[in-house]
């Protein structure tokens, strides 16, 4: 196959020129970090909102101590998780690549580890606390409903939690890991380019 040999030689000899300047790359990477920061902020805002909504349940007149205990546990779990989210947000918010590239990349790596922990060990504490809180909360509440509504409430609540803990969590871990790893790679490459230019 003489002709295919020509194609092979042509392929081997050609180089792909990626005409992206380090400035453009930096601009793009910074935009990605900003998006990540905004998403993180939105996440914190959402958690804050659910904190307020759950805390508002106290405005209703509950008689049983289990309901109050349930709300307290849920509110505490949300508050702790929100604080952890905020601390993670601060890791990427406080450093800037253009000021200190080395520190920024190491902070980004720390953020990646923290996010991984958030979706693993910490997530289970959060899920267990929420389940416990929900169980306690439901003791009084469910007595007002008939049996079918009680079953529906329990199945929907725990079904939703299982769905989040399995499919959603796994997808979030993968997406998060890929996104941060790509950012780290981009910034390391930009850092390398700056070193070459110096």
């Amino acid at each position: 196959m003489q002709e295919f040999n020509h194609i092979e030689a042509l392929w081997a000899a050609h180089t792909v020129d990626v005409k992206i300047s380090s400035d453009e790359m930096l601009k793009q990477a910074k935009k990605d970090v900003n998006n990540m920061r905004n998403k993180s902020l939105l996440n914190i805002f959402g958690m804050g909102l659910s904190f307020v909504i759950v805390a508002c349940l106290w405005l209703f007149d509950f008689e049983s101590w289990t309901t109050h205990a349930g709300i307290t546990i849920i509110v505490m779990a949300i508050a702790v998780y929100t604080i952890i989210l905020y601390n993670n947000y601060r890791i990427i918010a406080k450093s800037d690549f253009t000021i200190n590239p080395k520190e920024f990349i190491s902070q980004l790596k720390l953020y990646q580890i923290n996010r991984h922990n958030l979706y693993n060990q910490l997530y289970w504490f959060y899920a267990i606390a929420l389940s416990l809180g929900l169980v306690l909360y439901c003791f009084e509440l469910l007595t007002h409903f008939n049996l079918w509504l009680q079953i529906l409430f329990v199945v929907l609540s725990f079904g939703w939690m299982i769905f989040c803990a399995t499919l959603v969590r796994k997808a979030a871990i993968r997406k998060d890991k890929e996104r941060i790893a790509l950012l780290i790679e981009k910034f390391e490459r930009i850092s390398g380019q700056f070193k070459e230019q110096q």
Binding site: M1, E3, I7, E8, W11, H14
Partner: protein, 93 residues
């Protein structure tokens, strides 16, 4: 004598540059043709041939494509023929 020599050298340099530019644009044209031919292949065939051209070992390509090595060899032979045919077709136009 000195100026003659210098002139000759200048002419030679210009010739070299001209030849290089021609050679470069011809190569570029061929590469563009190759890309065009590859783009005409089916998606799977395109992936396989790109891996072949990048000199990936057959066992790795078989792993990635999810087919047996024996099947892969047959497939590669067929894709090579198809690509060469496409390349020649485009080159004639």
């Amino acid at each position: 004598m000195r100026s003659e020599k210098r002139q000759a050298k200048d002419e030679l340099t210009e010739n070299i540059i001209e030849n290089k530019i021609e050679e470069y644009s011809e190569k570029n044209e061929q590469v563009a043709l190759l890309y065009k031919s590859i783009s005409k292949l089916e998606e799977n065939d395109r992936l396989i041939i790109t891996m072949v051209l990048d000199e990936l070992p057959y066992n790795e390509i078989a792993d990635i494509s999810g087919i047996s090595e024996g099947n892969l060899r047959v497939k590669i032979h067929r894709i090579k023929q198809k690509l060469t045919e496409l390349y020649n077709q485009h080159a004639r136009i």
